[in-house]
Symmetry: C2
Subunit: 149 residues, 2 copies
């Protein structure tokens, strides 16, 4: 319907994919007492990676530090994370998953990966997609990438 460019069509597809995945896991979010912003935050907390500071979370979520305070409060109320002062710098607080938090995140990731429309592609197709998306997102990204340690 729209005589627009290929890039435009791709943008629509990517957005629709994100949207469809979100919609597909709505029931799990409800079970886990999570909203989308909270689920995004939980998603960032990879149990296999070092626990991030509040500030690092703010960078990853592209939001104000005070928003991280808010989200961390909520996740703490749900017993999904703990906030502990970093060793060596008592200003910095580190977000760590609790056992419940790890389990909640596992369920979240499982639901998302099994229900997303992406799951309908074959492994070979997924690999091709991965290659293309990685190339698009590759370094020299937006140059506004001062690393944050």
């Amino acid at each position: 319907m729209d005589g627009e460019s290929l890039t435009y069509q791709l943008l629509r597809l990517v957005h629709a994919m994100d949207d469809a995945t979100d919609a597909a896991i709505q029931d799990v979010l409800t079970e886990l007492n999570l909203t989308h912003p909270l689920a995004d935050a939980l998603w960032q907390l990879d149990p296999a990676a070092p626990a991030p500071s509040m500030r690092q979370m703010a960078v990853r979520l592209r939001c104000d530090p005070s928003t991280v305070t808010f989200l961390a409060d909520r996740l703490h109320q749900l017993s999904y994370v703990t906030r502990t002062a970093a060793t060596g710098d008592r200003r910095t607080k580190v977000l760590e998953l609790t056992d419940q938090g790890r389990e909640a995140r596992r369920r979240l990731v499982e639901a998302a990966t099994t229900r997303t429309p992406l799951a309908r592609l074959t492994a070979a197709e997924q690999r091709r997609l991965h290659t293309l998306m990685t190339r698009a997102m590759a370094p020299s990204a937006t140059e506004e990438e001062k690393r944050y340690g």
Copy 2:
């Protein structure tokens, strides 16, 4: 860092793409006095397609009808849309772009398509990506697709 599946990695990439594109057009949104939800709504209003009713917008945006009322109010305040009663059914109201609305949408789409990381791919790569994404999003989508007329 995460021993997760390929699908998981793809989800991260797709989400990051959507996020990066949003971030890249922030200044344009500010110029146009748009927030993200408002920009999403404006994005849906393709000038080349028939003007949608409020309800159709609610379906497209996956939100409550009252939210569309709210968004349409804002877009109207900005002189981007008009709300006119549909011929034949005076309950139904149709959202139409004004000239300013068309221009705002044009700027929005232009900024998004030129600045998204997707724009770094060659035309051939974009076509491959389009094929894969289209196949993933293809019909039998989520079956919850009763059409809405």
